[in-house]
Amino acid sequence: MSLKAPPSPAGSGRGRSGRAPRPVSRRGGIARLGPLPWIAPVILLILAVVVWPVIELIRTSFLNISIAGKVRGSAGTDKFKKLFEESDFGAVLLWTVVWTLVVVSVTMLLSLALAQLFNQKFPGRRVTRWALIAPWAASVLMTAIGFKWMLNQTAGVLNTLMLDLGLIDSSKDWLGRPETAWPWMMAVAVFVSLPFTTYTLLAGLQTIPQEVYEASRIDGAGSWQTYRHITLPMLRSAFLVGVVINLINVFNSFPIIWAMTQGGPGYDTSTSMVFMYKLKETDIGESAAMSVVNFLLVVVLVLIFLKVSRWNEED
């Protein structure tokens, strides 16, 4: 078997074209496997880096692990019970939802406007398009640390600027309390999400044929009408991609919050992701339970969204 040369793609192409359909049994062993040999490395990779960690994660959430790191046996569903009984659990979930919704919707709205702008011809467009990449190219952690220092009460440049502009009367500890920390962190999250989303939408805009716009102009449609009835519907698939990817990204976002407030004071500025990380300091099993809940939430979130947006009925 191994001595036989594997059938060339050209050979199987001939088979498909129906000129000489050979019996299946006479095919080489590898060919019988179909595309498997070609995608096997990828499947193995997915099994190793995606599926196995998920299984390991779920297993850990049912274990009792001491703070020193020793496995003390099964915990049953105790860790989940402990998690759901945490007095901050409800608030953390609520803030996770608010955080995700606000950041994603503001990002999408701003990106729609930005994409429209960058789709116009104007002098310096190339430069501004490049400039937009900057927040994306910079490490999110560095951006967040940068904002943290700019907001610093005694030395922060943003505090000084707002003081000089008369926006505030005394410099503020913006990140010290949740009421002001949340808006700032959301702003940073939007800032780093804009480039990707704008480029996705820009790519979508460029696929819309000019003829359609010409036709609508001839029919006498105003610019708002054109945007609502031509551009938006035709932008649908790019928009959906942007929303889904942003939903997952923002929900899982960790570095911004960790760098700026570490989720504190207490758990007041923690999303479920940061909450999970902080639980790790005291109980690995409970932290794993939170991870399982997070994992399910992402899956449910995306499923609901796809259902609502009728992803499959696009055409």
């Binding site: 790191g69 020793k70 003390r72 009460q153």
Partner: protein, 416 residues
Amino acid sequence: MVATGAATLCMALGLTACGGDSDSGDGKTIKLVAADYGDKASNASKVYWNQVKKEFEKANKGYKVDVQVINWNEIDKSVKNMIQAGNEPDLLQTGGYADKVADDLLYKADEVMSAKTRENLIPTFAKAGEVDGTQYGIPWVSSSRVMFYNKDVLKKAGVKTPPKTWDELAAAAKKIKAKKAAETPYALPLGPEETQGETMMWELGNGGGYTDAGGKYTLDSARNVETFEWLKSELVKPGLTYANPASTDRKTAFADFAAGKVGMLNGHPSLIQMAKEGKVDYGVAPIPGKEGPLKSTLGVADWMMAFKDGGAEKEGVKKFLDFTYSKKMLAFDEMYNLMPVTQDALQTMQTNGRHKDLEPFFEVLPSAKFYPLGDTTWDVVSAEIKKTGGKAVVDDPKQVLGDLQKKAETAAAEAK
């Protein structure tokens, strides 16, 4: 070379454990994991340990020491990974030990230290290394806490003597604020870095603390709640400290003091050097309590511990500890301005005239009170306090401390 040396040693001593073919190596390599106390390359703890390693290997032919120094932020996580992977070190020097006793990972101190070396330990510290009457934790370095104040700030505000009671402290802080003598009159760092320390220093001032005489957690005792109510209404609300103490870390407070922006704060010896570098004319005084200065302040110690399953033979570990817990420790204490845990080193430091600025700290050391270090659940409880304890000056103290108490009780129940 090493192998022949080891063989000779085996023959000479007639040791039976010199098989050399156990699954965990030859038993002659001692793996030491230690925390890094340095803040630059020249004073990294690696420098100290490499010197000890060199000297020990020279004095004890056949033995090898494998030194791994890890920074404070990472060491507990790294050790946790080592334990999970079944790859424990032989010796570990870090911040706490009792959680490892709960998992039966450690040798008793008398198994790995000669009686002579153990007798040299300062008794209060040796005692703090005990779990249920048996010593597992071996103290490594210590420090005690006092109140630091900026002399110029107090003078400018017209405060003649440093405060001795809470009321005097609040009054002094008010004067500092009124005269704008410092940005932050009293620095109250209750952020996650060391909430458990600042909390205990205040609670001790009201006759409170973390446990009762029987060792049961009393995090939300009436006295503790009262302490935080006072802090909330007398320091935080009138703006006599940071606007958000619960998210302000100790390192911020220390840096602010060294920059001359703070009037008073509680600190440990490393602040001396920082204040000097910042050219701050500082004074120290006992920490104020509700009625008068603390009779016993907070004492903190870091620990050395020996793992049973590290792979090196017990005799080797014992040799190394006896070798290390000698006059050599002085070099480490002096390197970082930390306080010794052995009696001979303490005596030397008190009498050799080089440590005048540490005198107030030495004075309060013998009567110092510790965290409930010997409680096997303390590491969990301490981590919980770090996470949410600071909120007791923002939200309802009774509720925040009550929540912590519930967590501590759960942890204690799980440990049984």
